[in-house]
Point group: C2
């Protein structure tokens, strides 16, 4: 094992202001800092695999991950993209195995809290548990909204949605027009619930409309407002 070393970051010194762990009492933050497991995962590696047993939950300290679930034919579906401060593995919490897997999209640092530590922290920190519950509530809302959109949208609209979702997830701080370098056509298709061919077609179309700019793998959104507008009839309050 030749993993890059990094001293375990104390939660109280962590830059992620929105990390749920911050909801705990100072004493508990210290305890978690001590007991948590800070892990580095290289780009392309699994953080945890689909159907693997649930030992705890991961908090992303730094990096980007895709949450995927695959069917028998090997087709992958991207369920969610997660970045700094987000949680991973919470879908499985309470169940036996992870219903989805998580793959590092670049080099990722995560903090792992095992089930026992989590349960103790929940029990001792109302605010922590409450905020996690609220997060679940939000995620459920989004998940169902998305399912509804997808049931009604055309392929073109779903691809536009996927592009907006990617920028939103991976460039939350203003730089929304950044190139979406890391994602292949197939991965965009896995988000938009279609196939790579169809994504290509839509991208070509959007290029002619000058809504996006494409240089090979690098896509950037040229007309953010226009794209939002073109699917606004569904997503009025989503983005």
């Amino acid at each position: 094992m030749n993993r890059p070393k990094r001293v375990t970051t104390q939660c109280c010194e962590c830059k992620n202001a929105s990390c749920f762990i911050k909801q705990c009492s100072p004493e508990y933050i210290a305890l978690i800092s001590e007991k948590k497991n800070q892990i580095r995962i290289n780009r392309g590696q699994y953080i945890f695999r689909e159907n693997s047993p649930v030992f705890g939950i991961y908090f992303i300290q730094e990096g980007r991950a895709k949450v995927v679930s695959s069917n028998i034919d090997g087709k992958e579906q991207i369920v969610r993209l997660a970045g700094d401060g987000h949680i991973l593995g919470h879908r499985g919490y309470g169940g036996e195995t992870h219903p989805v897997g998580a793959v590092a999209q670049n080099d990722v640092w995560v903090c792992f809290l095992d089930n026992t530590l989590l349960y103790e922290a929940f029990k001792a920190n109302f605010e922590f548990l409450y905020s996690i519950m609220m997060f679940y509530s939000q995620e459920l809302r989004k998940s169902e909204q998305r399912a509804q959109y997808f049931a009604q949208m055309t392929v073109e609209e779903r691809v536009i949605f996927a592009l907006l979702y990617i920028t939103e997830s991976y460039a939350p701080e203003k730089q929304v027009d950044l190139p979406l370098i890391t994602l292949s056509r197939q991965e965009i298709a896995d988000i938009a619930a279609t196939n790579a061919d169809q994504v290509s077609r839509v991208l070509t179309f959007l290029k002619t409309k000058e809504m996006i700019r494409v240089q090979g793998k690098k896509i950037s959104i040229a007309d953010h407002e226009g794209m939002k507008k073109s699917i606004a009839r569904y997503t009025a309050a989503y983005f």
Copy 2:
């Protein structure tokens, strides 16, 4: 107002063993019994409407409800079917307004707990809050699984899924082959994310295969195992 009267049922005497309120301490169960609002909603009436402000959460004491969300064109999508002991309105909890509405499918009795009462109960009863969080986790899992299935299934498969889902939701105790009397073709379509025409076609097909029996509105499942099998490649562990 000429509503059927019923003395407020004390939670400790309520037959729903699985009601989340039972997770509270005896003192809190008594307090909730006293402060909760027991309401009757007639068949076809809204329990709460989409986009209405969130005042609290509803616990179904008795009856069946459909949770719906509609788009601009007026198309309805059925997000979930709920029965005895289930919660309603939790999707909106933490947000401003209900992202979905709930309609009584027969005469329904619900217990309403307002935000303040709920928050106090959460704060004072770890088990209660924890079990609700676990419920959200489960719901999120199901929601995303379902979204994935729907993205891959054909119309026929989605209708089969819908029929199984309906029996599962509304006849949890063994009597799985009960007729699904209450749902119209349009409602089945709203679950399967298609239209009434398509549902008709699939029903006709399933009839010839002798997997279902149809007498007008009344549908009953003749070959439960066969139907499960025909979509098992997706739903291995769902039903």
